[in-house]
Each structure stands twice: as C-alpha cells, then as structure tokens.
Symmetry: C2
Subunit: 199 residues, 2 copies
C-alpha cells in the first residue's frame, strides 16, 4: 500500500523544509492528519501570508513587511557603524550581542564557481548605501568560511580605495571551547590575535 495522492503530495512538499528527509516528512504529514488538523490549516495560512507579505527593506535589504525595517526606521541607532552580513538570520544573531549600529544584508557570499559575482550578492547596492550614509567604520561580519573571508577581503579592498575604514570580526576560540577539540586554523587565529591582559 502506498500513501494516497494528497498525502504523498503533502510529504513531498514538507521535504523542502531544511533538515527534513523522507521519513521525517512522513511522520510530520501523518501526525498533522492524525492530531492537529487545525494547526496544519493555520500553518498553511501563515506560510501563505508570510510569503506574500514579507519583502525586503529597501535600505538594508533585510526581511521586512514595510518599505523600511524596524532597525532602519529607528532614529536612535548609531549612524556611524555599518555591519555587513551574509543573510537576514545573521542580523538577528548580531542584534543579540547588543550591537546598535546599522546593517546591510548581502545575498550570501561571493562564489565564482556558482556564478555568484559582486553584482549577484549586492555589492553595488552596498557601495551605494555606504555613499549615502555617514559611516566611520564598516564591520565585515560575513561567516568565517573560505567564501565569507574572500567576500570580506573583496569588500575591504573596495572600501580601502575610497578611504573608508573596514574591520573584520575577530577569529579565535569560542567561549566554553576546549583547546584540544578546536581545529588548528581556529587555534592559529586565536594565537595570532592574542591581546594583552589588562589587570
């Protein structure tokens, strides 16, 4: 016996969710049908409303329901700091640190092999945003991966040509990490970036 057409279609559709494979999708589909049909209907509505109603902030390009996002609209933020990240999720992560400057969200990182050059990830828009603002420092908070590093390096070079200060987030040991478990590259960065202890 195979699943009936509507159940099969639901299982297939659930597989677009990150981390959901065939087995998990089956379990989700049957559990929704068995236990929470109202919840599933609400989920259907929430999905549809969010996909239609959520767009991008025209200033920082983060996800936003209005033309400007909450952060760009907030007059109390520090207009001298711009934090550049790879995606909207990163904005929420940096916000949790207490950072109160402005943001710019790239569309991922440079990846020439996938055909993603500066235009594809929004570097021209970033430069326009920087021209339009009065930033004293641009913090490059792309991910500490090969592609993220390359993207940060590329932007730093462009900004150096314009006499703008660009900084990169620090690399080193994560808090609570153990030296014997961390990879060599991270430890090398932690050593190279050592700082005097202020007593």
């Amino acid at each position: 016996m195979s699943f009936s057409p509507l159940i099969r279609q639901l299982i297939e559709s659930l597989r677009i969710l990150p981390g959901v494979g065939q087995k998990t999708a089956q379990r989700m589909a049957l559990q929704l049908l068995e236990r929470d049909r109202n919840g599933a209907q609400r989920l259907a509505q929430a999905l549809s409303q969010a996909m239609e109603g959520v767009g991008y902030c025209k200033s920082c390009r983060s996800l936003s329901e209005s033309e400007l996002c909450q952060i760009c609209e907030d007059p109390r933020r520090d207009d001298s700091l711009l934090c550049v990240v790879e995606g909207p999720m990163d904005v929420y992560a940096v916000e949790h640190t207490g950072f109160r400057g402005r943001y710019f969200v790239l569309k991922g990182h440079l990846s020439p092999l996938d055909g993603l050059g500066p235009e594809a990830i929004g570097i021209p828009e970033l430069l326009a945003r920087i021209e339009a603002g009065q930033f004293s420092e641009v913090i490059l908070a792309t991910n500490p991966t090969v592609e993220g590093e390359a993207t940060a390096h590329y932007i730093a070079q462009l900004l150096a040509g314009k006499g703008m200060v660009a900084s990169r987030i620090a690399h080193g040991m994560p808090l609570g990490g153990e030296l014997e478990l961390v990879d060599g590259g991270t430890l090398a960065h932690a050593l190279a970036g050592r700082r005097p202890i202020n007593l």
Copy 2:
C-alpha cells in the same frame, strides 16, 4: 530587534511540526523566505488540501481520501486475518513486511490517566468490524509499550469471551541488535520466546 509579525506567526505555526523547536522553526521560516517562496506556497496548498481531502476509511479507520481505503477495497486480500494497530503509520509499517490480511486502526492505546478508555480508542468499532467479518485470527500489533501491552491484553480478553483466536506479535531481539546493548526486558522476552532450530 524582534521578528516582524508575519514572520513571528510563521515561526509559531511551524512549531506544531513534530521535533521542531524554536530555533529550528526560525531557521525554517527564514530559509523559506530567503530561498524557496514558491516551495512554501506549494506546501501551504498541500497542507490545506490534505487536511480537507483526507478522511478516514469507514471500514478500517485508516487515513483515506475515499470512503474505503485501497486495502479495504482490494478483493485479493486475505479476509481471515485482521491486524489491529494503534495508528495509520503502523499500517504502512506492517504493509512493508508483506502482510496481506486486513487492518483495523485504533485511535492510539488505552490510557486511563488521560481519560482514554475503550470507547475513546474505538474498541466498540473494532468489535463491530470483527462481528461483520469472517476472521479466523486477530493479530494484536499494538506497540510493545506498557500501554500497548495493556490494550492488547484488554482486547484479547474481550475476544476470548467470543471464542475468537487473538495473537500478539513476538517480542525479542531486533535483527542486527547486540545482546549487551539491549534492555533486560527485551532479552527476557527473547529467552522466554526461544524456539527450536529446524535443521
């Protein structure tokens, strides 16, 4: 910065999925918004269609889009065997073993503490189904948990009163398991249920 209302609503709705907590729901919501809005719209539609279109087979009470499910409609199945399971997912599991009898799907197991008695899980309907058929054996394939065992035991007692043969699926070592890793209860069942080796 908090998520905008539509994103918040989407995250809350995603949390009804089994195994999805706050962090996973956030990741799912943002990934759908960033990378696959069409897929998300299709998911919304599939959810809505399945919740409206999938009902229960009136004979075995499994999930079905028509009045009778594929299995109940199939004239080639063995009408002398009835397999009783706790939920629709179990039907698919038993089908994979090559079982070709009929099914009856309970609504879970007896759980007096949660107020789930015989009526709540569909025992009267099971008895009516057995009366209406010509089964020579009823296989009780509820889960090997305390509640599943109690449910099987309860049904077996009812059937004994009607002179019907009820059997219980075997308990023992799972294939590929290791004696030193399996729990004591399972091993005790495996020993007690030992069978002669036919050479």
